[in-house]
Every structure is written in C-alpha cells, then in structure tokens.
C-alpha cells in the first residue's frame, strides 16, 4: 500500500496540513500536494474506472499526461468533471469524486464489460450497431450512454460561479516550459534584449531536473534554478508566469497560454482562469519529455506506474507507492527510480531489464545496493485486480512463459522517453525518427512557418530529443539565442550552464513485452489507458485493412480525446508498424492538435457571459421602452420592442390594441435602428444609380424616393427611403440590420471598383434618434409641440407634402422630418440628435396624450405594412428573390444602362415566367395561415412528393380587418386572382386561401397622403 514517507517531499510543506474529501471520506494532505500525491499518501491507489471496460485504474503518471486519475471536483455551481488528480493542487476543503462507476469505485456493476472485452474490440460500435436500426435509439444508445463517457455533466440549470478573462500579450520570444531547458533558453534569449515571456504549467519551476539529479554549474539543479529565476525576474524584458500552460501554437506566431489563477485557492476572488492570447515572433518549445509505458499484460492494474512518476512521488511529495516494487525497463533512467525507492526504504524486489547486456553506471549503482537485476527479462503479466499483488517474470524474447512469480504491490515501468513534440507540431512542424531514443523528435529542417515563410518555433532540450543535462542545457542556450536572433535581435552568445549527469547505456526499443506475447497477454496489454485501447485492438485494425495511422486512430480511438497521444502515441504506432511489416517512420504519427491539455470552456469564453455575453445594441429610448412594458425582440444585435404589454395583456392583445390605435389615433415607433448613410460628392448621383435599381440622380432636392438594392446576383438585399439633401449629398436609409452591411457594400464598390469616382460615404445611423409619428393625429401633435415652443417647422400638407423632407425645429428640437410612411397612415419620421432622443420622445408622449398617443412595437409595424402590401426584406426576400418576383418592376429603372444586379436579372432563370410571384392571401375562414407554409398543386415530382406551387412569406392577424391576412409567392400568382389554393400545415390541418391583391387596406393610398 502507498503511504507518506517520513522524509523527502521537496514540494510539500509538512507544517501545513490540509483536509480534503475523496468519495465523501475525509483525508489529510499537505500544502504543495497534488490531489494524486495526497490520495497515494492516504493509501488510495485505485482512483477510477476505465472508459470502456470499467477496469480498476490507478494513477500512472505525475503530470498532464495522466490518463486514468480523472476526477469530479467540487459541487454545485463549481462542479467540474474529468479533472486530473495529477494537475490538481490540493487545497483545504477540496472535494473529489472518482468517476465512471456505479454504484461505487470499489464495486462497479459495469465492470462486467471487462469480462465481455473480447466482444468489445476495435470498431465494435461500427460493426454491432448498424442493424437493426430501431434497436439503436431504444436499446443501444441508452446502454452506451450509461456505460461510456467519463464524469457526469454539470447540472444544466446551474451557471458556473467563476469568472474568466482573456489577455492579449506580444512577445519577441515566447518560451513554453519552465524546466531547466526553458530557463536556459529564456536566459539566452533575454540577453539579446528581446522581450521574453516564459510559461510554466506547474506551480513550481525547474521541471524534472531536481528529481533526476546531476549537477548544473557544479551545484544541485535546484540551486541553479533559483539563481536563474532570480536573474530572469530582475530583467525588465522578461515575464515569468507559472501555473500557465502553453496550450497551443497557431498560425503566424499566435499562441495560447492557459493560466490557472484560483484553482489552487478557490474563494480568492477574481477570475479563475486567464487565457493569454499571445503573438510571438519566435516560440521556443521547452516542453520536456514524457515517459512511455511498457506494453505487458496487466500494465493498467492500479499500482503500475511510470518509473519517472514513481520517482516524482517519492522526491517531490514524500509518498512511496508501495512496500515491494518491481522495476521494469528497457533503459538506464528507470534505475534512478530503483535508487530513489531504495533510499526511501522501499524494497525493490527486482529490476527487470529487457536488455541482455544491461545498463551502465546506474545499473551498477543499483546492484551495489544489493538489488537483484535480471537481464533479458520482461514482465509476462501483472495479476488482475484492484491493486498489484503478483508479478510474473519471463524472458523478453519469448511468448510469456513465466520463469518466476514474485509478490509485489507496485510496478515501475519505463519504455524510454519521448520528446513532447505537441506544440512544435500544432502548426505544422514535422518530425523525424530518432533511432537512438526510439522516438520522434522535431525535424529542424521543417519547422512551422510564419508570415514571412520563416520557421517560428525552436525546440529546446528534451523536447528536442536532447537528454542528459549537459546536452540539453547547451541545446537550450543555442535555441534561446537562435530565437532572439530570428526575432530580429543581435546575435549574442550566452555560455550554457554546465550540466553533469551520469552517462547512460543505449536503450532498447521494446514495443511488446515479452516480444512474442501470446494473444491472451496482448488482450490485456494496454496502449491507451484513457480510451481503453489494447495491443490486440491495433493488431485487429491492421488485419482488417487499416493501414493509415489516421484511420487506425479513429477506428480504435487510440490517442484520441484528451490524451492526444501523450502516453499512447509511439507504442501504438510501433504496434501498427509491426503489424503492417513497415518501419515506424513510414507509418508516421497522427496529428497533434491543440490544446496540449484540456482547457476550460470558461477560459475560451473569457469575459463573454451574462450581461456581456454579446453586445446588445440599444437605442437612446431603450430604458423608456423597458420601463413601459416592452416585450423585447432581438433584431440583429439590436433590441426592439415587439409590443408594449400593459397589465393583464398578452402579446396578441397588445398588438391588436397598438394596430387599432395607430390606425385610429396616434402611434409612436422608435425607428432609430434604421441605417442612415450620407453619400456625398460630385459622382454621388452616378454612384447611387449603380447601387439602387431606381434612378436616384434625378431625385429633386427636398424629396424622398423608395429604393431597392440588389446584389450582383440580382437578388434583393436591402431597401429604404433615399432623401436628396443638396446638390451633391444624399441620405440613404437602410433596413435595421443593413446599416453596417450596406455601408461596407458602398465602401467596397468605391474602394475596389470605382476608386476614381468622387464620392464619400459616412455612416450616421447612431447620430440620430428617429421616431415615426404615425396616425390620423400625427400632424396635430407636431403642430401642438410647435405651438408650445412658439413656432417651428411648417408640417402642413402643403409645406411638407408626402415623400418630402425638411430641416427645422419641432417643439424646440433641431429636427429633420421625413414625410414617409411604412404604415399607410399620415406619418412623419423625425430625426433628432441621439442625445436628445429621450427628451423628444417624452415631449411627443406628453403632447400626444390628448390625441390618444401610444407607442407601438415591431409586430404592429409589420402588420401595418402587411395590410398595405409593403414588402419586408427578410420576409418577402430570402436571398433568392428578385424585385420582379415582388411586382416591383416600377422600381427598376429602364433608363439606366447598368445597376448592380441588372445583368443578373437578364439571366434565363430570372426571366422564367414560372417564377413564383407575390400575391396577397386571404384564408377562406378568416384564420391565420401558418408562417412559411407551402402551397401544393397537382401531381407529384420526381421524388414522388406533391408539387409545390408557392409559399407564405408574411402572415398576420389584421386587427384592422379582423381576419388573417398574408403575402406569399405563388407560381403564376398575379394571373390567378380569386383562385383558392391549399396550404397543408405542420399541425395536420390544411388551410385554404384565396389569391388576392397584396394591398389589403386603403388601396388608393389616400390616408398617407392627407
């Protein structure tokens, strides 16, 4: 059983004891512990159940590469599943739960899957669940959902209680990794004067060096690390961030840093995570190396750990993994673990070394301690169970016949070390196979390329395949200097710190243990713990014809998800290569994708949540609307009142009231969201003639004209009223959603096609609050306001006729009034300065009382215009509709040679007489047609479906007419007036509607022209 040692533990503070709970049981740890080290200290070796087979699993690693010890942390609005125990710093009150089991970690019903494992092989789901289809939804899916997956999802009703943020930072050199290589590289880069940012994922600096030993500049690594950190901290051009993982490298030197601010100290306040959005000229990846597991049967039994991780637990956290340990290795490094264990008082039962010739000085040192070292040997099998009990030892070069069975409670394994090439590879850095270390390392000839075609990532130290303190420090110093130079700083040479470590004998590539393991053993030899992929699965995939490593990955799930091949990659590739009789480099690797290690969704979202989840655009009268019953409707990013609800009213009642009141008395509409563009210049008329289908150059000063805009495809894209302001100035109204788009559209043509035309455009949409004063009493209220102010603009029919505009004062406000109507009533749209919008609105409401004033919302706006047969962009149009479809031929200038969309409207499909055309629709029974319903005609199409002859584009209950009215596009519609056609609804009913003229109300247009 694992326990806390009396000595060791350089990272823990034994004076600070911490209480935490695991599966509801209170345990004790120390400040500086990770959750994993604290659990081991409490004898908790088993930490979870595996993904697919629900096998008992313990912690395998000590860092971000941990595949097994995934926990559910916290509760309620701070609950989070799938957190690694190895990267979770212990804090007082931490609540952890193991996951993927029911009812308990110790007894899990679905561990039956383990017994069924021979049926749950690679591609099981693909093979099993194809037929019969009905079983999928009701049988397979519920079972799979219950059995697979990791932690439970957070409660959908709860909101994350924490906050997050982004931070943009620019550096000449970004160093990812704060181990000795990263620090050395940073020092070298900083010496040139470059602005350097160093990111370290852990709370401590120096990486593995203090655990692995050796000396740097003649001192213990820790002393050099402290000294170097102090030097770097003293430099103005260096920024050091710990608890900040370099999570991804992207195009053109973009990189993300994931800073965990309060995970270790909840309740501290402030954001939990900060996402650093970094742009660096050069990036040094000093990301170290990860140890590979050995593929032997039972290599996933709790208590089997990576040798380096076991060493970490002893040295860093003062935890011993067991009482009797077997060390299995193919290299010298694992002997360090044997020495550390021995020193900690743990009995090292055997060191099983696959190499017939054994290792070098480290092996000799182990032997000197009296530890038995067996050469040419392997682990045949670790007995299944919830912890290690028995280890069978065999010849490496055999099929697994046991020579000896030893009693042990932990196993340390080492298959060699692989450089962490993830960040090098994220943006396209290529790899080469290194025979000496049996691993892929960055190919210096093929780095990720930046915006100038230059390489922008420089690997350093172990991440570059340089092991051994001397070599890696030298490599890192060169890398740092090279990066600074590439970032444009003068070449400087900083002497690398002098590292010394014990020379190591050549390792031996071992991909299967023992080399000829029989099928029973291979079915228990795990390659990818997290996704439960075994040696036999990859071999099966190869037999079934999966030759590409990318296909095999997806078929078997090897190296997928959060693992991203950290532990499984090389071992899996080697097995695949062997099965295909190919060399590993020919098989290649799968793609490493960011993030290196999972980052929180909160960090990605940053500050964008709650009130600032997205910008909400507000008009100057927003607060008034809100206080007066506005039922808000999103229109793009704007919020507009759909209707103003009074006490006891529902939407429908409110809309009917607003419609009737506007037709009979006086309505006010906040029309501020409509786009307003000033177009000015000697060529402005010519330009607008190209923009609009109508002729705008001939518009008289002081007059307004309704205009249509089409794309080059000929389709309608926007509409609005254009006013001629002076000789060379026009003001163009756009739809609410169209202001920015149409402004951009005009700029695009002016800048990229007709750049010699003298025209300037300015978007003045937000300069004005624009209020539509609508209804038979509209003029009266304006005249009253003017009378109160002692004079103002003459708003009479004669002085300001329909479709004209005037500047002046209304009620003492500087205003521009347009006599335009989207309702068919007497209507003025009045623009005042936005800052005075509320005051003007208040004045209208006050003066309007005696005239029955009421505000109205967008639904009433829609109904009023539909009663008049006015089209709405986005309702009658959908990007496939041309003006001709809507009976708007009158707005298409015949005199103009050209306008945007004109040529397209001559294409054969556009002049097809069978195009659906706009008509009015009146239900036979007065009901409201369903929105978007299609009309069906005679016969069926090639697919056997009923032929469609039209569709509803707008449909409302008209309070004015007391019945349902609609507009729609119908084949040959205008020629079929009076015909009744059928619209099957999704409610099972069929609606019958008569084709009528789309103008339902005041066909002569007398009311708006009074």
């Amino acid at each position: 059983m694992s326990t806390r040692l009396a000595k060791h533990g350089r990272l823990i503070d034994r004076s600070k004891q911490i209480d935490f709970t695991f599966n509801g049981k209170t345990m004790k740890g120390y400040a500086g512990d990770t959750l994993a080290s604290a659990l081991l200290a409490n004898g908790q070796v088993m930490m979870g159940r595996s993904f697919k087979y629900h096998r008992p699993r313990g912690v395998v690693a000590s860092g971000a590469e941990e595949p097994n010890a995934l926990m559910q942390l916290g509760t309620g609005d701070r609950y989070e599943p799938n957190q690694r125990a190895t990267t979770t710093e212990l804090f007082s009150g931490l609540q952890a739960q193991s996951q993927n089991h029911w009812p308990s970690l110790e007894f899990d019903v679905l561990s039956i899957n383990n017994k069924l494992s021979r049926f749950l092989t690679a591609g099981f789901y693909y093979k099993m669940f194809i037929h019969p289809r009905p079983l999928w939804k009701h049988v397979y899916e519920p079972i799979i959902r219950k059995s697979a997956g990791l932690g439970a999802a957070p409660d959908a009703e709860l909101k994350d209680a924490d906050t997050y943020e982004h931070f943009y930072f620019f550096a000449d050199v970004l160093v990812i990794g704060g181990g000795v290589a990263g620090l050395q590289a940073a020092k070298a880069a900083a010496a040139s004067g470059a602005k350097v940012l160093v990111l370290e994922q852990n709370s401590y600096w120096g990486g593995r060096a203090p655990v692995d030993g050796g000396t740097i500049d003649g001192e213990a690594p820790e002393a050099w690390i402290e000294k170097t950190l102090a030097e770097l901290r003293a430099m103005d051009n260096v920024t050091l961030r710990d608890r900040c993982m370099g999570s991804g490298v992207y195009d053109h030197g973009y990189a993300l840093g994931y800073e965990r601010l309060t995970d270790h100290a909840p309740g501290q306040g402030g954001p939990r995570h900060r996402l650093w959005r970094i742009r660096a000229s050069q990036i040094v990846t000093a990301t170290g190396a990860i140890e590979r597991p050995l593929s032997f049967a039972g290599n996933d039994v709790p208590g089997v750990m990576l040798a380096g991780a076991m060493r970490d637990y002893v040295v860093n956290w003062g935890v011993k993994p067991g009482e009797r340990v077997v060390v299995a290795t193919n290299n010298d490094d694992a002997y360090r673990t044997a020495l550390v264990l021995h020193d900690a008082g743990v009995e090292v039962v055997r060191v099983v070394d696959t190499r017939e010739t054994g290792g070098g000085a480290l092996m000799e040192a182990v032997r000197e301690k009296g530890i038995r070292v067996e050469l040419g040997r392997a682990i045949a099998k670790v007995k299944d169970g919830k912890s290690v009990t028995e280890v069978a030892i065999c010849a490496q070069n055999g099929e697994g016949g046991a020579r000896e069975i030893v009693q042990a409670d932990a196993v340390a394994m080492s298959g060699g070390w692989s450089p962490v090439v993830h960040l090098w590879s994220h943006c396209g850095g290529k790899l080469i196979w290194d025979e000496v270390t049996a691993s892929f390392r960055p190919d210096p000839e093929r780095p990720p390329l930046g915006d100038k075609g230059q390489g922008f990532v420089v690997p350093a130290g172990a991440a570059n395949g340089e092991f051994g303190l001397a070599a890696l420090l030298e490599d890192a110093a060169v890398a740092g200097a090279k990066a600074a130079e590439a970032a444009g700083f003068p070449a400087t040479t900083v002497a690398a710190a002098k590292g010394e470590s014990v020379a190591e004998a050549q390792m031996e590539a071992v991909w299967l243990m023992p080399a000829k393991a029989d099928v029973k053993l291979r079915m228990k030899s795990w390659l990818d713990y997290q996704n439960d992929v075994k040696v036999s699965d990859v071999q099966l995939a190869a037999r079934e014809g999966y030759e590409s490593v990318e296909h095999t990955k997806r078929y078997t799930t090897l190296g997928m998800a959060t693992d991203q091949g950290k532990l499984s990659n090389i071992n899996g590739l080697a097995i695949l290569a062997d099965s295909l009789n190919a060399e590993i480099p020919q098989v290649g690797t799968t793609t490493f994708r960011p993030p290196y290690h999972p980052i929180s969704l909160g960090a990605i979202a940053g500050e964008a949540r709650g009130e600032i989840f997205q910008p909400i655009r507000k008009t100057p009268m927003y607060d008034w609307h809100d206080r007066n019953g506005a039922d808000w409707e999103p229109v793009g990013q704007w919020r507009r009142p759909f209707a103003y609800l009074r006490d006891g009213e529902d939407r429908h009642a409110a809309v009917n009231r607003e419609v009737k009141n506007t037709r009979e008395n006086l309505g006010l509409l906040d029309a501020s969201t409509l786009g307003k563009l000033i177009v000015k210049g000697p060529d402005a008329g010519k330009f607008l003639d190209m923009m609009y289908t109508n002729m705008m150059s001939t518009l008289k000063i002081g007059k307004c004209r309704y205009g249509l805009m089409c794309s080059e495809n000929g389709f309608l894209m926007d509409d609005g009223v254009v006013a001629r302001i002076d000789e060379d100035t026009w003001l163009c109204h756009t739809t609410t959603g169209g202001a920015e788009h149409i402004h951009g559209w005009m700029e695009e043509w002016l800048q990229t096609e007709w750049w010699d035309w003298k025209v300037y455009v300015a978007n003045v949409t937000e300069q004005y609050a624009q209020i539509a004063v609508v209804g038979p009493n509209a003029r009266k209220v304006l005249e009253k306001l003017n009378a109160q102010a002692g004079g103002g603009m003459d708003v009479s029919r004669e002085a300001l006729p329909f479709m004209e505009w005037r500047d002046g004062q209304i009620g003492g406000f500087d205003a521009r009034a347009y006599r335009i109507s989207f309702s068919g009533e007497l209507s003025y749209e009045i623009a005042v300065a936005a800052s005075e919008g509320q005051a003007f609105w208040d004045a209208l409401m006050e003066a309007g009382k005696e005239f029955g004033v009421m505000p109205y919302g967008t639904e009433t706006l829609h109904i009023l215009r539909a009663e008049k047969g006015f089209i709405m962009i986005g309702d009658e149009t959908d990007g496939t509709v041309i003006p001709q479809d809507l009976g708007l031929n009158w707005a298409l200038s015949k005199k103009k040679e050209d306008y945007l969309g004109k040529r397209a409207q001559q294409r054969s499909h556009m002049v097809d007489p069978d195009r659906w055309q706009l008509v009015g629709l009146e239900t036979v029974d007065g009901s409201v047609l369903p929105d978007g319903a299609y009309a069906v005609g005679e016969g069926v199409n090639a697919n056997g479906q009923r032929n469609m002859i039209g569709r509803v584009t707008s449909t409302y209950h008209s309070a004015t007419l007391g019945r349902g009215i609609a507009m729609g596009l119908v084949k040959h519609g205008p020629k079929r007036m009076g015909e009744v056609i059928e619209f099957p609804g999704t409610d099972g009913k069929t609606y019958k509607a008569k084709i009528v003229d789309p103008v339902f109300y005041d066909k002569e247009g007398e009311k708006q022209n009074v």
């Binding site: 620019f170 300015a762 300069q767 800052s835």
Partner: protein, 188 residues
C-alpha cells in the same frame, strides 16, 4: 443643453483602473484629401490642432484631430460648439471634394485611467499595449471584445475610448469586468 444626455449618463467604476463616462464630446467626421492645404487649415481652425500622422492623434487645448484612415479624420471639439465648427468647416471646404458631418451623438466617449489602464485595455483589445509599443499620441482603431472601437493615450497615461453609442453600455460593462480589483495581471 439640458435635453442632451450622454449614453452612459455619468457612469463610473473604480477597480484596477477607473472607467468613466467622459460625457458629451463634439465629434466631426471629415473625409477628404488629407494632403489638401485648404483642408489642413480648416482642420487647424476648427480644432487648434495640426494634422496627425498615420495612426496618431494631435491634441490642442480644447480640440483634437485623430487619423481614422487615409481619407478620414475625426475632429474632437467642445460638444456645444460642434454645430458652429461644422458650419465653419463646411464653408471653408466649399470648393473641395470633402464630407464633414456631425457625429457627436453617434458615439460613447469613455476615459480609462489609473495604473491598471494598460492591462485592462489589453484584456479586451488585440493590441500591443506595452509602453514600448503604445504611448501618448497614438490612436488605434481596433476591436473592444466584440465591437469596433478606437482609443488613444493622453499625456497623463489615461486612455480616451470611443465606440458607437448603441454599444456604450456594453463597452462600459466590458471594461468594468476587465477592471475587477482582483484581476491584476502585473505585467505593465
């Protein structure tokens, strides 16, 4: 001017930095040939400030001129004087191909000040705010989280920030969030 109210109506928040409604400011968008001597002198007359270089703002006693694009300036003048300044500008530019328009009410104008100002802004804008990269007199149009905005640095190290009026409240809340007292980054 009692009728005119700025979008944020005097809001302020003090955290890592102080975020405050800077009130109503007269603003004139001027498009034209920035090399024109007529235009230059009209701008000087309106603001008291000379022509800014690319990406810069030129500041005078109660006026300023910001470079918006190769053919666009933003003139800052006292709010009450915007109308008169615009009229004078239009008169001076009568013979030129130019567009001058009052946009005083189209924008929200904020001030971000205090020690943490650079860091707060660097949380919402993809711009290098290192003192070595951004200093007084520089004017930058960019993005403030999800909306367009522009900012410049005054001699006292505070930032003037402008955005469209409709999103003024969003930007204020955005900066307020970024200025949370316990969110200091500690790099500037």
């Amino acid at each position: 001017m009692s009728k005119a109210v700025s979008e944020l109506n005097g809001a302020r928040y003090a955290g890592l930095a102080e975020v405050a409604d800077a009130g109503l400011r007269g603003m004139i968008t001027l498009r034209g040939d920035l090399d024109s001597a007529v235009l230059k002198s009209a701008v000087q007359a309106a603001t008291g400030a000379g022509m800014p270089g690319i990406g810069r703002i030129s500041v005078a006693a109660d006026g300023a001129v910001a470079w918006m694009s190769p053919d666009e300036l933003l003139l800052l003048v006292p709010y009450e004087e915007a109308g008169a300044k615009l009229a004078a500008l239009q008169a001076a530019l009568a013979g030129e191909h130019a567009l001058a328009v009052n946009v005083s009410d189209a924008r929200t104008y904020l001030r971000l000040s205090g020690e943490g100002a650079r860091e707060v802004l660097a949380k919402v804008s993809p711009v290098d705010l290192d003192p070595a990269a951004f200093g007084p007199g520089q004017f930058r149009r960019s993005r403030l989280a999800q909306v367009a905005g522009a900012f410049w640095m005054e001699e006292d190290g505070s930032f003037g920030i402008i955005c469209f009026r409709s999103v003024g409240e969003y930007v204020f809340k955005l900066l307020k969030t970024a200025a949370h007292p316990q969110s200091k980054v500690g790099v500037y």
